[in-house]
């Protein structure tokens, strides 16, 4: 990744950035998020099929750079969340320097060899392997084999189920939730200073990991991400209980597309879907 390192070095040397968020290998050769604070640090930068993390999450979590902007290494899908953060007024376009990377898919299971079978499902539908928005672009596009979408059949099955069957399906899933909030912590768009689940006066969502409280938690989180989730699937990847959270996000994403023809995080100048309204919004369900 000479290109990536060269650009990063240049950004430090010209004092344009305070730090750059990217990926580096740890001593076990695992690719992990890594923040470079100096030109020397950037030599550790890597980018490959194991660069799964959506680093945009750090844009609202790390303290602002003392001097200069924040540099960020980002895949096309991650850039969607950067655009979403700009649309939602959480960061300014001028405060970030986006080093976009041409992406050749990422793994589904880390610690396993990259292959067609071990490719993240989101990569199957990816329209932004060459990012749509960036300041610098590095890397080369290669031919890749796309994975099966094993969730498609599950979505179809869910759609054909009765309410009770669906409830039972999700009861079995949500029962496993341990309320670790990894899904929230890893989500670039869950930046609330106080999350509703942490509010205790009044307590809206049971904080103990009961199935009832888990239902409320997962429903409310999916609702808060409705029309906002950009489908990076980090929440599902982080979930230790292996709850198929992407199904919920996928459903809500389909509502945004079908009802409003809206895709969040595609255009920095587009007004957000949630937080705005149209007097002609559909209301055939209102008496």
């Amino acid at each position: 990744m000479k290109q990536l390192i060269d650009i990063s070095k240049e950004l430090f040397e010209s004092k344009q950035v305070g730090y750059i968020i990217g990926y580096a290998e740890d001593k076990f050769k695992r690719v992990k998020p890594f923040v470079a604070y100096s030109s020397l640090d950037t030599e550790r930068f890597v980018f490959n099929n194991n660069s799964v993390n959506n680093l945009a999450v750090y844009l609202t979590r790390l303290p602002k750079a003392k001097e200069g902007k924040i540099g960020i290494v980002a895949k096309g899908c991650d850039i969607k969340s950067i655009i979403a953060l700009i649309q939602e007024n959480q960061i300014k376009r001028d405060d970030v320097i986006i080093i976009g990377v041409n992406c050749n898919s990422v793994v589904n299971q880390i610690d396993e060899q990259f292959s067609k079978e071990n490719t993240a499902i989101k990569c199957k539908y990816c329209q932004v392997r060459t990012p749509a928005h960036y300041d610098y672009l590095v890397g080369e596009i290669k031919e890749v084999e796309l994975p099966e979408d094993k969730n498609f059949a599950i979505m179809q099955k869910l759609d054909s189920m009765s309410a009770e069957e669906k409830w039972n399906f999700w009861e079995a899933e949500f029962e496993k939730c341990v309320k670790c909030y990894a899904c929230r912590q890893v989500c670039p768009l869950c930046y609330c200073e106080q999350c509703i689940v942490d509010k205790s006066m009044p307590r809206w969502i049971d904080s103990s990991a009961t199935t009832k409280g888990n239902f409320a938690w997962n429903m409310i989180r999916a609702f808060h991400l409705s029309g906002r989730c950009i489908g990076c699937n980090e929440c599902e990847r982080a979930c230790p209980a292996e709850i198929p959270l992407s199904l919920l996000n996928r459903k809500m994403g389909m509502v945004a597309i079908n009802e409003f023809n809206y895709r969040h995080g595609t255009d920095i100048n587009q007004p957000t879907l949630i937080g705005n309204y149209n007097v002609n919004d559909k209301e055939d369900f209102i008496m």
Binding site: K166, W204, S226, V279, D281
Partner: protein
């Protein structure tokens, strides 16, 4: 239990400025209505966080009604427009996780529509009575009951 007639429990979230006043009018005009609905008055439909609706179902509601000012009549101008957009998502989310969204009703009832309020409430109660009780949460609530010695 078997032959006991099912009486639905309905929670109605109504905005202060239109529907609540409309319901009040129904009362002062002595219009007859069924009494299964518990009204919860909120400033505006825009104040109705969907978590309220989940809470109502958790606490044993068989149906929930949400009602406020007609479009363009919101006391805060845009509260009901914002709310309406959120409901489009929320209804489909409920359906997706197995809470039949037809147990969640919406209406616009103005301060002068006492008669419409009675029709809406009666309609909702009858329709939920027909659907029967909502059992999803009943089982989950048992999970956390503290056994009494």
């Amino acid at each position: 239990m078997e032959n006991e007639k099912f009486e639905p429990k309905i929670v109605a979230f109504v905005c202060n400025w239109c529907t609540y006043t409309g319901a009040d009018l129904a009362g002062t005009s002595r219009l007859k209505q069924q009494t299964n609905a518990r009204l919860i008055r909120v400033p505006c439909t825009g104040r109705i966080d969907p978590v309220f609706i989940i809470k109502a179902f958790e606490k044993g509601a068989d149906g929930v009604l949400v009602s406020g000012c007609h479009p363009n009549d919101c006391h805060y101008n845009t509260g009901n427009f914002h709310a309406r957009r959120r409901w489009i998502f929320f209804r489909q989310l409920l359906d997706f996780v197995g809470i039949d969204s037809s147990r969640l009703y919406f209406s616009w009832v103005s301060a002068s529509e006492g008669k419409k309020w009675v029709d809406v409430v009666d309609g909702v109660i009858n329709s939920v009575r027909e659907k029967g009780p909502f059992n999803g949460y009943k089982k989950l609530n048992k999970e956390i009951e503290i056994p009494v010695k």
